[in-house]
């Protein structure tokens, strides 16, 4: 029988925090890419450090909202009404902050394109996590079969 070596409260907290950090980095990179593309299309070949700082803070805050308030929708098992609602609300917050912080020179069309881009990013991340879990399942079941086969072998040899 296995000894009880469960995760401590600190380890669980750390796992969640690392997850949020990862989300913040991922979405910051996606928004930064969009922002750089917009700047280049406008003929500007430098980026505002202030805008980037605002973006990373926004991504962190929305990362916390996603995990603690919106059912961690990008890592959800299925895409239901509440997950889609979470996606839409977070996209709306991104859009709102982009306008308040003037990331796209107050252009409403760009804000709408950003919203669509973020929604697509969310869907892609959801699919990536789903695929990752599906691959993980195969590996997990292989390990289960191996465990059961080995255990049976040990039992049979003990008889």
């Amino acid at each position: 029988m296995k000894s009880d070596k469960k995760l401590s409260l600190w380890e669980r907290y750390l796992t969640t925090e690392i997850g949020i950090e990862f989300k913040a980095c991922l979405y910051f990179f996606a928004i930064l890419f969009f922002y750089c593309m917009y700047r280049m299309i406008c003929g500007v070949f430098n980026a505002s450090i202030l805008h980037m700082a605002e973006m990373i803070f926004t991504c962190y805050i929305i990362g916390y909202l996603q995990v603690y308030l919106f059912w961690n929708f990008d890592e959800a098992e299925t895409l239901g009404v509440k997950e889609i609602a979470g996606m839409v609300i977070c996209t709306f917050i991104y859009g709102l902050i982009s306008r308040l912080c003037n990331w796209f020179d107050g252009k409403l069309t760009v804000t709408f394109i950003l919203a669509a881009y973020i929604l697509i990013t969310y869907l892609c991340v959801f699919l990536i996590y789903k695929t990752k879990r599906s691959i993980g399942d195969k590996k997990l079941n292989e390990e289960l079969r191996l465990f059961q086969a080995e255990h049976k072998k040990v039992k049979d040899s003990g008889k």
Binding site: M1, K2, E75, A76, E77, R133, L140, F147, V154
Partner: protein, 146 residues
């Protein structure tokens, strides 16, 4: 418990075990006498039944009572999950939550869930969720890191 030992010169050797209710000590003695592996005694529908650990799908503790679930019976067993885990000589039992022990040998499939949890489907189709707290240890357990 009174122990009565007699030396005999002739006739068949025999051992009689007398008890009011089955308890872990008596069960262990019977197990040794029968030269068998550890067995679990449980009560179901007013009857006392003997269950082999390999037949147990999982054990659950509800209000300080421990129940053993097999494919076709649910029996209340004496003791705690801890006493079961320390008595059973079978490495396929894993503590998958505060109130549950699962027999990994009777799991038919596993599925990763969001938030690092694992859904274990047992041979009878029941689903047991291995919480995030125990999932990492379960993965190590499967890999033989015991």
């Amino acid at each position: 418990m009174k122990i009565d030992i007699k030396t005999i010169k002739e006739g068949e050797e025999s051992i009689t075990v007398r008890y009011f209710e089955p308890n872990p000590t008596v069960e262990r003695i019977i197990g040794i006498l029968q030269n068998e592996e550890y067995k679990v005694w449980g009560k179901t529908d007013g009857m006392t039944i003997c269950i082999e650990p390999k037949d147990i799908l999982y054990l659950e503790s509800v209000d300080d009572k421990v129940f053993a679930y097999t494919k076709d019976a649910v029996a209340r067993i004496e003791g705690s999950l801890y006493s079961f885990s320390s008595s059973v000589n079978d490495d396929s039992f894993f503590r998958c939550s505060k109130s549950m022990i699962i027999n990994v040998g009777r799991v038919s499939s596993l599925k990763s869930l969001p938030s690092n949890r694992i859904d274990a489907t047992l041979e009878n189709g029941e689903h047991i969720i291995i919480s995030r707290r125990y999932a990492a240890e379960f993965r190590r357990f499967l890999k033989g890191d015991r």
